[in-house]
């Protein structure tokens, strides 16, 4: 029985080492990639810009501010949300994993046209699609 355990332990250790190296490379790769910063301003009852184009896998940081009252920022499909307080900057890091159009909206009731305060993030397969 012991003879069988030894190769198993060695195999497990080797696998763990390979996995560790892979993860390190991925993390290292991500850390080196420049993070594009996209500024978004919220005000009654819109976001500027109201459309953000991103590329799959491209890490970005959304810097969100409010010009007037407290607004919200929520993307249910991506599980992201933030409060946007006037005079403060909320930073949301995002690495899009799939192509598509994702709506974000204000989830902090802000007035008469609150229900129409939304914008979209469009995630493309490549930069070429963004330029086109």
């Amino acid at each position: 029985m012991k003879r069988m355990v030894t190769p198993l332990v060695a195999w497990t250790a080797a696998s763990a080492l390979i996995l560790f190296l892979s993860l390190t490379q991925i993390r290292s790769g991500n850390a080196q990639a420049p993070e594009r910063v996209i500024k978004i301003t919220a005000h009654k009852f819109a976001y500027e810009p109201d459309r953000i184009d991103l590329k799959v896998g491209e890490p970005v940081v959304l810097e969100l501010t409010s010009k007037d009252v407290t607004h919200g920022f929520k993307i249910p499909d991506l599980g992201l949300r933030a409060d946007l307080e006037p005079g403060e900057t909320a930073r949301v890091r995002l690495v899009p994993e799939k192509v598509g159009t994702f709506e974000f909206y204000c989830d902090n009731f802000c007035g008469i046209d609150h229900e129409n305060m939304s914008a979209t993030i469009v995630v493309h397969e490549s930069d070429a699609q963004i330029e086109n």
């Binding site: 919200g72 249910p76 409060d83 709506e103 989830d107 009731f109 802000c110 007035g111 008469i112 129409n116």
Partner: protein, 302 residues
């Protein structure tokens, strides 16, 4: 002992002989909550009205914004058997950023509903009433935003998921809810009234309560819970575990089905079918079988 007559029997009689409808019998049955012949286990019924949005202006959605609520009041008053009580599940008024306008609208709304024959009325705010001032004005007119009351053998819980503009019940209210539900007898019946759906119906349209899942987890501890709410301006029914959630129609403008179109814009008014998809409901509580029969009523009969 006086002979008992329940509402179903009465309606049956009323249907057979229209004269009964016009007699005083309707009143005596309607008030059976105070009759010596009743008990806590007898059926009763209440009326739910919702999303009256008093102050709304938008002729493409409703060219009769000041007439619809009075028509609904008249329709409730014309029910052959008056309800035991009435509940308004929020958005009594349409939002305004002017605090004076908000109070004027709340006052006008209160004046109109004072014409309901049944004055046992429960209110709660919607986000249009309370999210811009944490329900300060609402409380001046209607009192607390969350509370409980008991009627017959049913325990009613009113929840406030609008005074926090982030659509949260909040930790304090959740603790209060947990304490209240925990002390209920497992055989008792619980009905919850609230404005927004407690579950994620369609968060993209703000049709959710941010911490609603915590409330549902608390309510799931009790075996007999039913939720009635508003906010989405249409009839809708959903189960979360053993809890049934029933959304009511609006009395100002209908909204489209969840996610059925890109924007949550009101369904346009159709002159050929005025007041279509607006209305109120009556809910008959069959106390012994923990059953709630829902009947939808239009604002005006065609």
């Amino acid at each position: 002992m006086a002979p008992k007559i329940d509402r179903r029997e009465f309606l049956k009689l009323a249907g057979i002989g229209g004269v009964v409808f016009a007699s005083g019998i309707g009143c005596s049955v309607a008030r059976n909550g105070v009759s010596a012949a009743t008990s806590d286990n007898e059926d009763f019924y209440f009326v739910q009205l919702s999303d009256t949005h008093w102050g709304f202006v938008g002729p493409e959605a409703n060219p009769d914004p000041t007439g619809t609520l009075p028509k609904a009041v008249a329709a409730v008053n014309s029910l052959s058997v008056q309800p035991d009580f009435i509940v308004f599940t929020g958005d009594l008024t349409h939002t305004t950023e002017d605090p004076r306008d908000r109070r004027r609208r709340l006052g006008e709304f209160k004046e109109i509903v004072s014409k309901l024959k049944v004055q046992s009325i429960r209110f709660m705010p919607g986000e249009h009433d309370g999210s811009l001032d944490k329900s300060k004005a609402f409380q001046e007119f209607f009192g607390p935003t969350y509370y409980t009351f008991d009627y017959r053998n049913v325990h009613f819980i009113v929840l406030d998921n609008v005074s926090d503009p982030r659509a949260r019940l909040g930790e304090a209210q959740l603790q209060w809810l947990n304490a209240d539900v925990s002390k209920q007898n497992p055989n008792s019946k619980v009905v919850v009234f609230t404005h927004r759906p407690l579950f994620d119906l369609y968060p993209q349209w703000d049709w959710a309560t941010t911490d609603g899942s915590q409330a549902i987890d608390i309510l799931l501890k009790h075996p007999n819970v039913t939720v009635f709410y508003g906010h989405i301006h249409q009839e809708h029914h959903r189960m979360t575990g053993h809890i049934a959630h029933h959304a009511a129609k609006s009395l100002m403008f209908p909204l489209p089905a969840p996610g059925s179109q890109p924007k949550r814009t009101p369904v346009p008014w159709n002159a050929a079918t005025p007041y279509k998809n607006l209305g109120f409901r009556e809910v008959e509580a069959d106390v012994n079988h923990v059953k709630y029969d829902i009947t939808e009523y239009p604002v005006v009969r065609s």
